[in-house]
Symmetry: C2
Subunit: 408 residues, 2 copies
Amino acid sequence: MAVNLARPEAASLHPVAGVRVGVAAAGIKKPGRKDLLLIALDPGATVAGVFTRNRFCAAPVLVAREHLASGSAIRALVVNTGNANAGTGDDGLARARKVCAAAAAQLGCRPVEVLPFSTGVIMEPLPVDRIVTGLPAAAAALTADAWLDAAEAIMTTDTVPKARSARVAVGRRTVTVTGIAKGAGMIRPDMATMLGFIATDAPLSTAGAQAMLAHATDRSFNCITVDGDTSTNDALMLMASGAAGGSTLEPGSLAFDAVRDTVTEIAAWLAQAIVRDGEGATKFITVRIEGGRSVEECRRVAYAIAHSPLVKTAFFASDPNLGRLLAAIGYAGLDDLDVAKVSLYLDDVLVAANGGRHPAYREEDGQRVMKQAEISVRAVLGRGDARATVWTCDFSYDYVKINAEYRT
Amino acid sequence: MAVNLARPEAASLHPVAGVRVGVAAAGIKKPGRKDLLLIALDPGATVAGVFTRNRFCAAPVLVAREHLASGSAIRALVVNTGNANAGTGDDGLARARKVCAAAAAQLGCRPVEVLPFSTGVIMEPLPVDRIVTGLPAAAAALTADAWLDAAEAIMTTDTVPKARSARVAVGRRTVTVTGIAKGAGMIRPDMATMLGFIATDAPLSTAGAQAMLAHATDRSFNCITVDGDTSTNDALMLMASGAAGGSTLEPGSLAFDAVRDTVTEIAAWLAQAIVRDGEGATKFITVRIEGGRSVEECRRVAYAIAHSPLVKTAFFASDPNLGRLLAAIGYAGLDDLDVAKVSLYLDDVLVAANGGRHPAYREEDGQRVMKQAEISVRAVLGRGDARATVWTCDFSYDYVKINAEYRT
C-alpha cells in the first residue's frame, strides 16, 4: 500500500560498468526468499560510506567502517536481510568478519576488501553458516543487470523494491548512476535509510566520492522520517567504478557537479521511496519550514511536526485537526519564537496567522487537502531566511500492526 | 481500559477547608455532560502554578500567568473542557478574559482574581457564551465535597476520573491534600499533564507554595509521557487555603517538608494515573535509568525509550523484541556512551550486557515479563551515579483510533 510508488521496470535500471550484483536465497530468516546480495567491484573502484550514529550500531557497521578506514581497495559488499547482527557484542563482530572472509574466498580478494551489511531483527545471533553456504550461489549469479533482483534481496518490511537509475552526459562521455535502497520502519536521521547502495561508473577519488555522498545524503536520506527511530544499521554507500573512462573528476569541476547532482537526484528519489513505502503509510507528506534563523532550527520544527503521533494520526484520518500542527511548532524548542509572526499553509490554503486561525480559513478547504494522498505542510516562521524540508508519512493502524507482529 | 486504575470512591476524597468546587453542564462540546468546573477559594488562600512551555500556549494560560504575576489574591479558578482556546490569537485572549469577568461577577471578586483553564480541541473559537450561561449553575453547586464531580468535569478522552486525597499530621494539626487531574494524550514534559489542581488547607506563602509545587512537579508530571506531544494548555496548580490553622509553613522546616512530601505523593499518583489511562494504553511501564553522569542525560535516555514507537508497539504486542530498547539507548544522543558498559534489565531479568544479549538471557524469561500489565525497564549506563525515572504506556491500535477519530 505504498503511496504513489510502483515497482520499477527491470529495463529502467541501467547496468553500471565495473559493478556486478548477484543474489541468493540463503534461508536466513525464511526459506525460499532472496535474502543475500553480493556486489562485486572491478579493481580500481572507490567506495564512500555514511553510517548510523546510533551508539549501539551493528557489528557489520563497525567492520565496514574499519575496512573503509584501512584504505584497502574495496572489491565487494555483502548484504543480508533477516538479521541485523546488532546488539550482538564481540560474537557479532566475529560473525561479520566470517562473512567477509567467505566472500573474499569466493572472489579471490582479501577479507579487508569486503564490506558487510545486515538488516533485520536486532539482538539475535547472525546465522553466519547459512550466509557462508549461500555465498557461492550469489557469486555464481553475479551480473551487471540484476539491479531489480538486488533491490528485492535487501527488503524487510518493504512492500515495493526501491531502485532508480539515470544517465548524465559528462563532456563526450556518458555516466550512469544506479541505486537501490530498503527500509520502511526505524527510520529517522541521522542516516535515515536502513540501507542504500548507489553505483556509478564515473571516475572519482575516495575523497571526491565521500564529498559527493555527503552532499547527496544531506539532501535526501537525512531529510526523511517514518517513526523517529534511528536504526542500528543505517548505511548509504557510493561506489564509483571509473569504467566510464576519462580522468578522475575533481570536486568543484562542472563534470563533478553534474555527476553529484545526478547522484543526489537518485538518492532523493530513493529516500522519498522509503517514506512512500513507510510502514502502514497511506499519505506522503512534505513538511517545508521557511523564514527560520538557521537550517538547523527549521529542521527542528519540521521534525517536531513530522514526529508528532497526533499530527500523523490526523493525516491518517484525513482530519484537518490543524491545531496539532501549531502545537508541534510551539514545542519544537524555539524558546523565543514569536507565534504572532508564524503563518501555516496546507498546500495553498492559509490556515493560521497572527497566532491563530486565519479568518478566511474554511474547514472544507482544509478537508479537501487532507483527503489527498500527497500533502504539503508549509510554515513560515517570520524570523530569518533559512529553510528546510522533511518528508514523512502518516501513522496508521497498520504501523502498529506491522510492528506489533514483526517477529511472528 | 486503563491499566490498574479504578474509579475513586467519592468518600475517599477529603474536603479541603477553604476550598469549594462546583460543576455544571454548559454544553460546550456536547449537551448534557459536565464540562465546566468552578473552584472557589476563601480569602487568604495562596496559589502557585506551573504551565506548558509550548510557544503556542493557549489564551487561558497567558491570562492565568498574567493574573498570577499581578500579585492579586486569587479567589477562583474556572475550567472548561471541550475546547482548548489555543491557537486562537487575540480573539482567544478576549474570550478568556470574558470568562474571568463572568466568574468574578458570580463570586463578587475582581476579574484579575480569577484564573481560567481550558482543555479540548485546538484552534476553534471558545464558545464563551455557553460558559457564561453555565457559570451560575456551577456557582450554585459550590460545595466542599464534590471532588469526584470536579474530576469528571475536566475529562476529555480520559476513561477514568483521576482524584486522590491524603492527610498528614503537622505538629498537633492535620493537613489535608486533595488533587484532581485530567489528560490522556498530547502528554509529555515539560509539564506533562494537561490539567491538574491540588488543594491543601496548609498555610503557605506564595513563594512557599511555588517551591513546593516545583518540587512535586519535578517528581511527578515532569516524569511522564504518553505520546511525546507537549500540549498547548498544560497547567498544574497548587492552592493553599491556610484553613488548617497555625502560622505559615516555612520552606526548610519539618512541617513544610511533611506537607511537601504529601503534595508530591498526590502529584505522583495523579501523574501515573494519567499514564495508566493513556490513550489506548494496555501496559504501564516504568523506565529507570541508572549510572548516568547527570539526571539530565538519564532522562534523555529514558525518554528515548519511552517515546520510541517501535518500543511501545513491542510492549503492546507483549513481544520481547528487546533489541529495540538497545537501539533507543543508542540514539539518545550520548555521543560518548560506551555500549560495552551498558546493562539492560526487564524487571529482574538481565537482558543485555557487554554490548549485546547476555548469555544467560532466555526468550521465555523476557516473554514472561512482557506479558505483565506493569513492566519495569532498567538500564545501567555504567558512567556515573545519576538516575532518573520516567513512566509511560504502550502504543496500541486504540491510540491511533482515538486520535484519528478525536473530532468525530
